[in-house]
Amino acid sequence: MRVVVCLKQVIDPLTPATSLALDNRDMKIRVGVSSPPVINGFDEQGLEAALRLRETNKDIEIIGLAAGDRFNNDVMKRALAVGADQLLLIQDPSLDTWNPYPIANALASAIRHIGGADLVICGRQGSDWDNGLTPFIVGHLLEMPILTLAKRVSQNGTQLEIERVLADGSMVMTANLPAVVTVTSELGTLRMPSVAARLAAARKQPRQLTLQELGAVTSATPTPVVADLAVPVTSRSCTFIEAPDGPTAGARLAEALMQAGAVRLCGGV
């Protein structure tokens, strides 16, 4: 069984805001070279989901697939280090975009190019643009059913079962393979690779694919155009409650809030 895990190289979401630079000419968000990129956290969890499937079904081939520009191979090869059998990178300047259509088109074309997949796993959204649209476009292009927000992914023969996260619990959902699944943070973190696996991965090279060889030409897409990027301005200023010790501060805070009418007491307990 072949499982393709879609990966996206993104700016480290923990980059301090002071290190972000907004390029209003190209409408891109950039960071300095001292902030290396990372694999999108949800996509790493996609890798974890695939690895867990392989724990029960040894006969699974895991392929990491990414579409973007200026890949940092050390970062992307983490997929190999944790246990993916192959890493495919589609690199092109046109893929440095917030528009999910060219990216999804590239991903779907690559999956067709390698002969298809039984299961495509994506993270629920990318931490850069938070669209969450790419998995739907990929599913649509590959004509596969789409199951989302999985905190558990398991396989019963040709059927795929997930436990989908809801606001107030969860729900089991199923679909026949081949299918697209997105995963969310409740699934758990990606396992740490052993050093032996890292060293082996360091010796491997990702396979490079071009848009031309994939025939992944994207014509007009409906995606809106980014017209401006700005840092949101917060207009609040914080009144710090000063006090010689914690308990006094707590008491003063309560007083301040009651005075400001921000607090409604319910005689609670």
Binding site: I11, A17, L22, M27, I29, W98, R124, S127, D128, W129, D130, G132, F136, I137, M144, P145, L147, L166, A167, G169, S170, M171, V172, M173, A175, T184, S185, E186, P222, P224, V225, V226, D228, L229, A230, V231, P232, C238, T239, F240, I241, D245, G246, P247, T248, A249, G250, A251, L253, A254, E255, A256, L257, A262, V263, L265, C266, G267, G268, V269
Partner: protein
Amino acid sequence: MQGILIVAEADGGELRPEFRELLTAAKGLSRSIGGGIAIALIGENLDAAAREAASAGVDNLHVVEDKRLDAPWPEAHAAALKQLCNQLAPKLVLLSRTVLGSEMAARVAVEYNWPLVQDVTEVEVTPDGGLQAIRLVSGGAVTATVRSAVGPWVVVPRPRAFAPTETNAATAIEPTRHAFAPPALATSCGARTRVEVEGLSVDRAKTVVAGGGGLGGPQAFALLREVADLLGGAVGASRVAVDSGWVPQAHQVGLTGKTIAPDLYIAVGISGAIQHLVGCSSSQVIVAINNDASAPIFRIANYGIVGDWKEIVPAFRDTLVAHSSQAGRAA
């Protein structure tokens, strides 16, 4: 194509209040987009919800009721919405940014190749007839202004970005009922597990007391629960607390949790990573208690204490208790 279609969600027969925010957005846009405002109600056992929606002051109400639509099954609900879109040909579809609404929006937009704008805080029609919106990206660290020249559009506003329209019209409109006739659906639903959420739901409460990584463990949430109960509010949590297993996901506030805008939001031991701030920054009054003076949470707070919550929160609670018992005696 014309008209604005609002997708209202019903949960267990009860109409979720988010549609009122969508109504506000729709009203603003209907000045430029003609064809009236319609509400789509998709689900099962919708009588009560339909009555409420019928009095919301819109032009049309379309109901798709079917037992297959009882569970929040995204593919089925999206199929019902597509059915309505085929029939009604709206110019703009508004959905709430819930787990179900976001997915319906994505499925419809992809299926029809329509522009989709999510998490918008402002939206308007431009003089040339296109749509312009402002949304948050990079986990909330950056705002992007996006433009789309040609509709129809699918728009998913940020929760609480638009104030809810509370009007209830004197006259109720007659709903148009549609039979649910989906194509073959590729996914299926199974058993549903509901996690009992103690107390008020975090997105319904007017006061939320939230805890984060600084609490160090689940025991501290009992103290927050006490404070929340005193204030008639709900307990919230940051992603760290939920991922650490200290509280169920239903309490999570933030980018992948709930976006809320209570009157009072008290953040205890929450550093204020941007992905959390986007979930709570629209609150009226924000109070932050954190050991670290440089924690980003203070940048959006109205009141702050730099210190140890273990010392501050019990005293805070005690002062409230003292006042409420005084008020009780005085009453």
